[in-house]
């Protein structure tokens, strides 16, 4: 009720006035009562005595009135807070350290949660994104297979469980004017916008006419491209652009009319989308079962479970296969995964690790605060004894203790949020960009939303409870009577610090465990990086050139282009070497079927699949791939000369075991070509695509004989990346000024960057682990330092006596050092036990190290011992400097 609230507010804000009013009322009451007694005949003193008796104890009345005001709890809280604040101000050093420790611990937890929130919890930027699934066709050999347009159509027409389905492929296009630029274009089926629930912000979406191959080519442009290239001009609708499509999509180059603009922040599972064009397969593409052009299929299901959808689509697929080749026994299988699972499922373990480690760090921080509070509680036993003696309830004192830890935690929590808010930069450093780029919006999208705030609050409350627990345990009201008689020193000395020792030992154990984990992960990373993949990582720049299809339709055109470009490159003074390959070694695609005279069953479709690469003659040497037999490609292997090939060692061993393959015949066939016969002229050493991978069989052809529609050119030179890039740009544009040099997928890259793609996850957890282990080490060291300082302080009289009796400074110091080693040793031993139990869970993330690797364990122990001894320096010096006279007199 309103009056109630108003009166309560008045009691809070005008407390003094309210108290005064009560006093006035009581005063008036007394006067009236006295007057009445006097009028009845009593003498003044007697009247006063009676009146007072009848009124009752004024203090009690005031207390009751305070209760009746209904703001008791708040007043008490305010008083406790003020008192707690005073206490904290009295020990500024400890307060500062505690708040810092908590801010670090809570800040780390909140930051980690921010990332986890962005990746796993925040809804994806689609309407009802929980309903979206990716459907993948898995070939019998276990790899994901692209669909033909025909298959996609049948999936769409014949399914009974899916509400909406769309297929699309992201392709690299080129834009020629006004400036050459690489683009990412989405080739999409009819219900594309529908499935994602996206509507254009300007213009219109695709209609049936756009999918008619006879009508004009139309396109949707993304918001970001529109702003960047066309300054968000509303006249964009109807504008024509010239796009150059990839060679495998015939008739994709040409003039496109822009009919609509996509909304901002349209996220399609990768870094950016520039245009969306309708899927308009020609009759040939539609019916050719080898033209697998559809990469991704997304379905919106609404009610059916994934399992039901899966069996539905699988049935359709089986039907299609049976119609195509009735004898086919091994059917393809279908996988249905939620979007989030597909995009981020592989990160789950790493992020769990990250959250677990931050939680541990937060725990260590709380232990630090606990230590501080315990020390102070012990020092204040006498004060508490007095309070209890004058009638404060035990719960009141307990409430006060908890208020102190709550205030510290609140400050720490506030600091933690500041840390988390400012730590986005740190996130960018610790978490590899490849991972953050997968999140819609990237690093900038890490925000503090409701969930994050909740976690911060929960963390703060837990911190308050955990740190307050310590001081509660140290509070011994039962001893309060004896405490009254003790000096503060005596009190502290009597308490043999078991509680604090336990805390410091636990802290140490946790920190040691984290150190061990970080050590194991770092060693894994080092092992991963130093693995010899057979290819040399050098300084240099890698640039991707995607040829304009319409400009270089014929093989001769492409050969001429590449030849000239390489000539010009070698002429640039900054460039020492240039080499090229059409596809980096670690990409799994671009394969051919290879058959040899001895080792091939007759039908080409049964020949084994191997990787195929087109290279320049300089490629092998530049990348450290050495010759095992025969020769490298030379000038002789030009376009019209007899076809030659070089094979990798694994290939040679598999197809011509024990025999020198040089001079032998090799036949290759791919989806897009007829069987060709080549002569093997050389064998080179193997390269592997990853440390866990076996070497793959590869067939290399010289680019002059099989000119690819694109090429990755590696150049090495004396200049930095900028300089090299301008050099290559000069060279290429002197041949074709319309040729883009940076694909929308990225680039130019350094070779190191390209290789590091494979180690994004180990790098993530190693970096995070090291950072957090460092923080844990620092916090635990502070804990050790704190306890030692306290211990020395309480033993001042003891030291004084020892020194008076003749102990040398050295003796005293060794006392402190002995204590340090005992504490740390116990902590390390406990840490080892915990680590043995925990590192088991890391097994999946380790490489080249066992979870119980003794070197890492020993190293962690050594590091911690060193740090502890360092932390003991100052307390030891203080112990040595104790003056016996002062010590014995101190209270």
């Amino acid at each position: 009720m309103l009056t109630d609230v108003l009166l309560r507010l008045r009691s809070i804000f005008k407390r003094d006035t309210v108290e005064r009013e009560l006093d006035d009322e009581l005063q008036f009451h007394l006067e009236q009562q006295v007057n009445s007694y006097v009028n009845a005949g009593l003498d003044a003193d007697e009247a006063r005595r009676r009146a007072h008796l009848e009124l009752g104890n004024p203090e009690q009345i005031r207390e009751e009135h305070r209760d009746a005001r209904g703001v008791r709890a708040l007043e008490d809280l305010a008083r406790d807070l003020r008192y707690a604040a005073r206490q904290l101000k009295r020990a500024p050093g400890f307060t500062f350290l505690s708040v810092m420790a908590l801010a670090l611990g809570i800040g780390a937890t909140v930051t980690a949660f921010k990332v986890v929130n962005a990746v796993f919890l925040r809804p994806l930027p689609f309407e009802r994104s929980g309903e979206l699934y990716r459907l993948t066709k898995i070939s019998p050999s276990g790899t994901a297979q692209w669909l033909t347009v025909h298959e996609l159509n049948r999936w769409q027409d014949e399914n009974r469980t899916v509400a909406k389905m769309a297929g699309f492929t992201v392709m690299d296009f080129n834009l020629r004017r006004p400036e050459p630029e690489g683009l990412l274009v989405v080739w999409a089926s009819q219900s594309f916008l529908d499935v994602f629930g996206t509507r254009p912000q300007l213009g219109r979406g695709f209609g049936p006419i756009d999918f008619d191959p006879r009508s004009d080519k139309t396109a949707l442009i993304s918001h970001e491209m529109w702003r960047r290239r066309y300054a968000a001009d509303p006249a964009i609708i109807g504008l024509q652009v010239d796009l150059e499509g990839p060679t495998f999509l015939s008739q994709s180059s040409g003039r496109y009319r822009i009919i609509g603009v996509l909304p901002p922040h349209f996220w399609l599972f990768h870094s950016r989308t520039d245009f969306v064009i309708p899927m308009r397969p020609s009759a040939e593409q539609l019916n050719d079962s080898t033209q697998r052009l559809v990469e991704t299929v997304i379905a919106r299901h609404e009610a059916a479970t994934p399992e039901v959808v899966r069996s539905d689509i699988a049935a359709i697929t089986r039907q299609i296969e049976r119609e195509a080749s009735p004898s086919q026994t091994q059917p393809a299988s279908i996988e249905v995964r939620s979007i989030r699972e597909w995009q981020f499922g592989d990160l789950r373990q790493s992020f769990l690790f990250m959250m677990a480690t931050t939680a541990l760090v937060a725990l260590i921080a709380c232990a630090n605060v606990s230590l501080v509070l315990i020390s102070r509680t012990i020092y204040r036993q006498r004060e508490f004894a007095i309070r209890l003696a004058v009638g404060a309830g035990r719960s009141r004192v307990v409430r006060q203790l908890l208020t102190e830890s709550a205030l510290l935690s609140a400050l720490g929590g506030f600091g933690g949020i500041l840390v988390a808010a400012g730590a986005s930069g740190m996130v960018g450093v610790l978490i590899p960009s490849q991972i953050m780029n997968r999140v819609p919006g990237g690093v900038e999208s890490l925000s503090i939303d409701g969930r994050v705030v909740t976690v911060a609050l929960v963390a703060t409350v837990l911190a308050a409870l955990v740190s307050g627990l310590g001081s509660l345990l140290a509070f011994r009201p039962s001893q309060s009577f004896q405490n009254l008689h003790q000096t503060t020193q005596g009190l502290a000395a009597a308490n043999r610090v078991p509680l604090q020792s336990v805390l410091v030992i636990s802290q140490t154990a946790l920190a040691v465990t984290l150190l061990i984990a970080a050590g194991l992960l770092s060693r894994s990373l080092i092992e991963l990086n130093s693995i010899d993949l057979g290819i040399r990582e050098r300084e240099g720049l890698v640039v991707w050139i995607n040829l304009n299809q319409s400009r270089y339709p014929k093989d001769e055109d492409r050969i001429r282009f590449y030849r000239t470009v390489f000539e010009r490159l070698n002429m640039q003074p900054e460039i020492r070497h240039a080499s090229g390959v059409d596809m980096p070694f670690y990409f799994e695609w671009q394969t051919v079927r290879a058959g040899t005279e001895t080792n091939a069953p007759t039908e080409p479709s049964r020949w084994p699949e191997v990787l195929a690469r087109a290279v320049t003659s300089t490629y092998f040497e530049r990348h450290g791939i050495h010759l095992v037999a025969g020769r490298y490609f030379t000038e002789q292997d030009y376009f019209r000369a007899s076809p030659v090939a070089i094979v990798s060692q694994t290939f040679a061993e598999r197809h011509w075991p024990g025999v020198n393959p040089v001079g032998r015949q090799l036949r290759t066939v791919s989806d897009s070509s007829q069987p060709a016969s080549t002569t093997v002229v050389g064998v080179v050493s193997d390269i592997r695509s990853g440390p866990h991978q076996p070497p793959k069989p590869i067939v290399y052809r010289p680019f002059e004989q099989l000119p690819p529609p694109w090429m990755y050119i590696t150049i090495e030179g004396g200049r930095d990346a900028e300089g090299l890039f301008s050099a290559i740009r000069r060279a290429v544009w002197s041949v074709d000024p319309d040729q883009p040099l940076d694909g929308a997928s990225g680039g130019p890259w350094t070779l190191g960057e390209m290789l590091s793609d494979r180690t994004e996850r180990p790098r993530l957890i190693a970096r995070v682990g090291i950072a957090l282990a460092g923080v844990a080490l620092l916090l635990a060291a502070i804990g050790v330092f704190g306890l030692l300082s306290y211990s020395v302080a309480r033993r001042t009289s003891e030291f004084g006596v020892r020194i008076a009796l003749g102990a040398s400074a050295h003796n005293v110091r060794s006392l402190v050092v002995r204590r340090t080693i005992t504490l740390t040793g116990a902590g390390i031993a406990l840490g080892f036990c915990v680590a043995v139990f925990i590192t088991r869970f890391l097994e999946g993330m380790l490489f080249g190290v066992t979870p119980l690797d003794p070197v890492t364990f020993m190293a962690a122990a050594f590091v911690f011992l060193a740090v502890s001894l360092l932390a003991s320096l100052v307390p030891a010096r203080r112990a040595m400097a104790v003056s016996p006279l002062v010590a014995l007199r101190t209270d």
Binding site: M1, D4, L7, E21, Q32, G41, Q60, I61, E64, A68
Partner: protein, 118 residues
């Protein structure tokens, strides 16, 4: 304690349960606004001093009643020109008084009946 002159303290005083104190206070100010001492005197008079009210408990009770909106208070001047706080019944207070009074009467009647029927 030796005997003093003045009104003798009655032997039997009934302890007053809390809720009923509120009711009596409301009744005491039903006719006109009164200050705290007046209310306490009135209670003593009406009950012929049989009801024992620790005078001090009055003031917290008054504040509670004010919070619940059944009384409202204002500062005024007493008969002897002193500053005093007067409490009066609000409309909802009057309604409360009526409903509680009839409830009390019914309760008393029922209890009496039970006790009579042996």
């Amino acid at each position: 304690m030796s005997k003093r002159k003045g009104t003798a303290m009655p032997d039997k005083r009934l302890e007053l349960p809390q809720g009923t104190l509120d009711l009596l206070i409301l009744k005491a100010v039903a006719l006109q606004p009164r200050h705290g001492w007046e209310i306490s005197e009135r209670l003593r008079q009406i009950s012929s001093s049989t009801l024992s009210v620790r005078q001090g408990s009055l003031y917290p009770a008054l504040h509670r009643l004010e919070r619940r909106g059944w009384l409202k208070s204002r500062w005024g001047t007493s008969e002897n020109n002193r500053r005093a706080r007067y409490y009066e019944l609000t409309r909802s207070g009057r309604a409360r008084l009526e409903s509680e009074t009839s409830a009390w009467r019914r309760l008393a009647a029922s209890v009496a009946q039970v006790l009579q029927s042996a």
